[in-house]
Amino acid sequence: MRKLTVLSPTAILGYGFPKESFERGLQHNPDVIAVDAGSVDPGPYYLGAGVSFTDKAAVKRDLEIILPAARKRNIPVLIGSAGGAGAKPHLEWTEEIIKEIAAEQDLAFKLALIAADVDEELLLDNLESTEPLGPIAPLNKETVQQTSNIVAQMGVEPIVAALDAGADVVLAGRAYDPTVFAAEAVRRGFDPGPALHMGKILECAAIAAEPGSGRDCMVGILDGDGFEIFPPNPQRQCTIKSVAAHSLYEKSNPWLLPGPGGSLDLQDTIYEQVEPGRVRVTGTRYVADKHYRLKLEGARLVGYRTLAIAGIRDPLMIKELRSILDAVSDSVRENFESVPDYKLNFLCYGLDGVMKELEPTPQPGHEVGLIIDVVAGTQDDANTICSYCRSTLLHYGYPGRVSTAGNLALPYSPSDLKAGPVYEFSVHHLLAVPVEFRPLIQEVGGKSDG
């Protein structure tokens, strides 16, 4: 029976992995080494600002091990959602790291870059073909123009095209997480259902093992009607429960997992413990959508942040805290009537800082950690309002106050921290018109670079 073995070194490129696990993984003769580099989980800033949430030195460390191992065996390395958010600046950032390593280690290979950015004109011409993915406003011209980076989660097709063109290293922008693990399988004609389901588990590497870890390797072996999955590190085990439970992770519904162009149907999926630590998964179906749709992601700048952190220990003040904060907010509003559209938020740790209005037990502790959070249209406005708010609160004479020297324990000098640009998710929509993701192939290292 024909098989395809995929090695997933780590849950996110830059999270690291033990070299020993990686070596053990290589002993299974993988046909592909694939790694997911991204997520929207860390929030809108990274996509909007075009910076990675992983550190350059950490990403380089992982690739310094992966790239030479793959070149030595002449197997492809597939990287999805480059630089975390997978827009053009993230792709370029990762490309630079790859080229540094190629130069330092004297590696030569064909590199395919696949941008995931969606052209603004194409989107503006097709606004009526977009649909909000949940309770977010429909896309309009203004939102598109305000959004700094708009990407679409690509499916396997452009990655297959890059492999067809002979790429040794494929660096994809924003991609549906399982695609880099499934692309070679789809290219070789394996059923996309099991291939993508295997990708769904491999993309988090050893998180689906017991004990779970995002910083350790996982191996998947695909065959005719299913796949087997296991961690190369003998200290971890795949169990039916650990693998099945992972199908739930970060998804709305465990039975139907939507992706570009179709969904994974897990209603008839069967998990079997074939060996200790090793699970076999069969029965997952891929159901193609009638119309191919892509998920768009984008974030726009909403302002600049300044914040101040303070402790409050006075029980008389904690008792009055809500009304004090309301009064200070009013005072800020009156004083800065001319400043447009600033936002002032108080986070009260020890009261309801984590859950806010969802908090079922908002009983104050004996001390409260307060964050004064100001976002305004310019950094100067945010600085001004935060400073005014902090000094007003510091000396605010609330009813019953006895501690007239100051209301806040400020741990830092300067007390106000300038946090810079702030983004919000502005695009989270489906797009029903085709987008062409074209792999750009280049020779790295060797003659052409010399």
Partner: protein
């Protein structure tokens, strides 16, 4: 007579996380088949339960699903604030599970225990 069993006696995982920036999803994974069956049979895991725990209208509870292969019950609700927007308190949504720890699952007490 009906006994109330703390969810923490039945579950090994009780977690929250974003499922995309607009949703919060909760996974309760039970320690064994018996605990899962008991939870399912109790009938308490409904949109009304999650609406009540999070003080939100039932219309904001998107789904409550039993997933036998993982001995899990999963619920998904709409976030009040889009992840990472100004005013959000938990970008990953990873600490919103706490109210679930207070769930108790009703079970008919067995005859022997009642008599004893």
């Amino acid at each position: 007579m009906v006994k109330q069993i703390p969810i923490t006696d039945l579950a090994v995982v009780i977690r929250s996380k974003n499922s995309g920036p607009l949703e919060l999803t909760f996974d309760i994974i039970f320690k064994d088949q018996q605990s899962f069956d008991l939870a399912v049979a109790s009938g308490i895991f409904s949109p009304a339960l999650f609406a009540d725990l999070y003080k939100i209208p039932e219309s904001r509870v998107l789904s409550v699903v039993e997933y036998a292969p993982a001995r899990a019950i999963k619920a998904t609700i709409l976030r009040n604030t889009v992840a990472g927007s100004v005013g959000d308190t938990d970008v990953y949504g990873a600490q919103q599970h706490a109210p679930l720890l207070a769930i108790t699952v009703p079970m008919e007490g067995d005859e022997d225990a009642d008599q004893g």
